[in-house]
């Protein structure tokens, strides 16, 4: 009996150690960002060959110097504002396109709905890498080089297909009975969508909003291709490209920017991850 107990305790310890190892691997870059953000330069720029100076802790008092520099002497806040504005515009376009399309595929397109849905989803696999070259041409023709409008036009190419798919799944999960009941209760299909379906799909729409926004944050390729003025950049472009101009790396401020942008996104994304996964794996998880 005691031997068994010992095995159980050992198993438990192994489990915690494994969990710890994975967590450390996943999180240490963020921890490193955190340390860098608040370390004094004297504490930060000590060569890695100096084994007596432990870089993993604050050896000197933490400082807000780098943070102040980031907010006061860089365009970080402008980039944040650009990102939020572009994100908001993309979210609106995405929702306006994807929600009706998702409903149509779920309920109104008959046996074609399924196939068209898969077709639209597959376009999600066509990556920016394939499209940025023709887009650079299209954008030039429209005279949108170096304009945030170029990004607003192009970003929905990766948010619309996925969000349409996501919304299709959500609408399918609303019991058909309820919609039919409302049609019998005196409403047209359009009125049913407005008064019954949309109120029931609020959480689904919210998921699509979050997804669209985080995808905008993820993009680097299009911003790099289209935007050249510092004051028009997004965070994802401005921080890695503009903050390291001229081989002078303000690592403290750089890491502060990474940290302050990543953490809120990660928190929000986490709240919705299960729904994204359900959308991505809708095919393989059926039954």
């Amino acid at each position: 009996m005691t031997a068994r107990r010992a095995v159980r305790i050992l198993k438990r310890i192994a489990l915690y150690l494994a969990a710890l190892a994975f967590t450390v691997f996943a999180v240490f870059p963020f921890y490193w960002m955190f340390l860098t953000t608040f370390k004094q330069n004297k504490d930060l720029y000590v060569g890695g060959t100096d084994l007596s100076h432990i870089p993993w802790i604050f050896n000197l008092r933490p400082t807000l110097e780098h943070v102040n520099l980031l907010f006061q002497q860089t365009l970080y806040l402008t980039w944040v504002r650009n990102t939020v504005l572009i994100g908001a515009a993309v979210v609106v376009i995405t929702i306006v396109l994807a929600v009706p399309a998702g409903y149509s595929l779920a309920r109104l397109s008959g046996r074609w709905g399924e196939r068209l849905g898969i077709g639209i989803f597959l376009t999600y696999l066509v990556p920016p890498t394939l499209l940025f070259i023709p887009f650079s041409r299209v954008i030039a023709v429209f005279g949108l080089q170096n304009s945030v409008w170029a990004l607003i036009l192009v970003y929905p190419t990766f948010t619309v297909p996925f969000c349409t798919w996501l919304m299709m799944g959500f609408f399918r999960s609303i019991p058909r009975d309820i919609e039919e009941q409302a049609m019998i209760d005196g409403y047209s299909r359009l009125a049913v969508i407005r008064k019954v379906v949309l109120p029931l799909a609020v959480s689904g729409i919210l998921t699509a909003v979050i997804f669209a926004f985080t995808q905008v944050m993820q993009d680097f390729v299009y911003a790099l291709t289209f935007i050249s003025s510092l004051d028009k950049m997004t965070v994802s472009l401005g921080v890695p490209v503009a903050l390291v101009r001229g081989d002078v790396f303000y690592w403290g401020s750089l890491m502060a920017a990474c940290l302050f942008t990543s953490i809120p996104i990660a928190v929000v994304y986490n709240l919705f991850i299960d729904r994204f996964i359900a959308g991505l794996t809708a095919g393989a998880l059926k039954g």
């Binding site: 963020f30 490193w32 996104i265 996964i277 393989a284």
Partner: protein, 314 residues
């Protein structure tokens, strides 16, 4: 049988008229109208540019001028004998395959861990997901600092624990640069694969694993003969997404190494960017990028198959 129809006390009967149907009732038409904007957008901004990419790859177009002259397969002929392109193609495959292999091993293990009940599971899950949720460009810049030539904290730690005596210049050596890129890909993708695998695990009915326990199957037998086969479709999905995300990635390579040192870490995406945008040779850039297409087609077909098989099995 039926009593005379009586109205409800105090309530006048509602007068009903049979209204003809309007647009709002015409389901097929409504369906098309609601689908059209999204469909047109996707056709106009994915379909058309995609076609344009193919056209450009047969042209000598440059970003400087708007003229468009047909050169047939010349771009392809040029790049296919270009050692730099060959290397980039090879790198793309290599990065995708190695990183996805590591991702799956890690994800399966991590999912096993997360599937067990323990205190703080939610926190661990949240932390595990951070690499996937953080914007890739910012994460990549974080890693360049971690791999810094003078201040690399990894080097410090390895030396501190006497695991090595040499000082690694991560982005100065082709092999180390590739290792660094693969590490970042694995770091970024394994949380995603873990969550997908976990979703698959929770969908395995408990009776199956319980029956296996009752039958006295050992852990390894349970894992390899029951869980793994049942998880195969979902792992396939994770791998396929992983392959797409890694093989088409530009941000990690661009920010970590810019293809260096000595152009040794270029992948198709970064080479296409260098030739097409920086080098202004749109035609050649498009041709390079289009070599990703076979990968994507294979992925798409496999994905459809998985979905169909899962449906048949359901």
């Amino acid at each position: 049988m039926a009593l005379p129809r009586e109205t409800q006390p105090g309530l006048a009967p509602v007068v009903l008229t049979m209204r003809r149907r309007t647009l709002a009732d015409k389901e097929a038409l409504l369906g098309r109208l609601m689908l059209a904007p999204a469909l047109l957008y996707v056709i106009a901004l994915v379909g058309v540019p995609f076609g344009l990419a193919v056209l450009l790859s047969f042209s000598s177009a440059t970003s400087g001028s708007l003229d468009f002259s047909w050169v047939g397969l010349r771009n392809y002929a040029t790049i296919i004998v270009d050692p730099q392109f060959q290397h980039a193609l090879w790198n793309t495959l290599r990065f995708a395959i190695i990183s996805q292999f590591l991702v799956i091993v890690l994800a399966l293990t991590a999912a096993q861990v997360l599937d067990a009940a323990f205190a703080g599971k939610r926190v661990v899950r949240f932390l595990l997901l951070m690499p996937w949720a953080a914007p890739v460009a910012l994460a990549a810049i974080g890693w360049t600092w971690i791999f810094d030539s003078t201040f690399s904290v990894i080097n410090w730690t390895l030396r501190y624990f006497h695991l090595t005596k040499t000082w690694y210049y991560w982005f100065g050596d082709p092999t180390l640069a590739m290792v660094a890129i693969i590490i970042v890909h694995v770091w970024r993708m394994f949380p995603f694969a873990t969550v997908i695998t976990l979703a698959g695990m929770t969908s395995i009915p408990h009776e199956i694993s319980e029956a296996a326990v009752v039958d006295g199957a050992s852990f390894s037998r349970r894992f390899f003969q029951i869980n793994l086969p049942l998880l195969t479709p979902i792992i396939t999905v994770a791998v396929l997404f992983g392959v797409v995300f890694t093989s088409t990635d530009l941000g990690v390579v661009y920010l970590l190494t810019r293809g260096g040192p000595y152009n040794s870490t270029h992948v198709l995406a970064s080479l296409a960017f260098q030739r097409g945008i920086l080098g202004a040779n749109l035609g050649q850039g498009a041709a390079v990028a289009l070599f990703l297409l076979p990968v994507l087609v294979v992925v798409a077909i496999l994905m459809l198959r998985t979905a169909r098989r899962a449906e048949v099995g359901a």
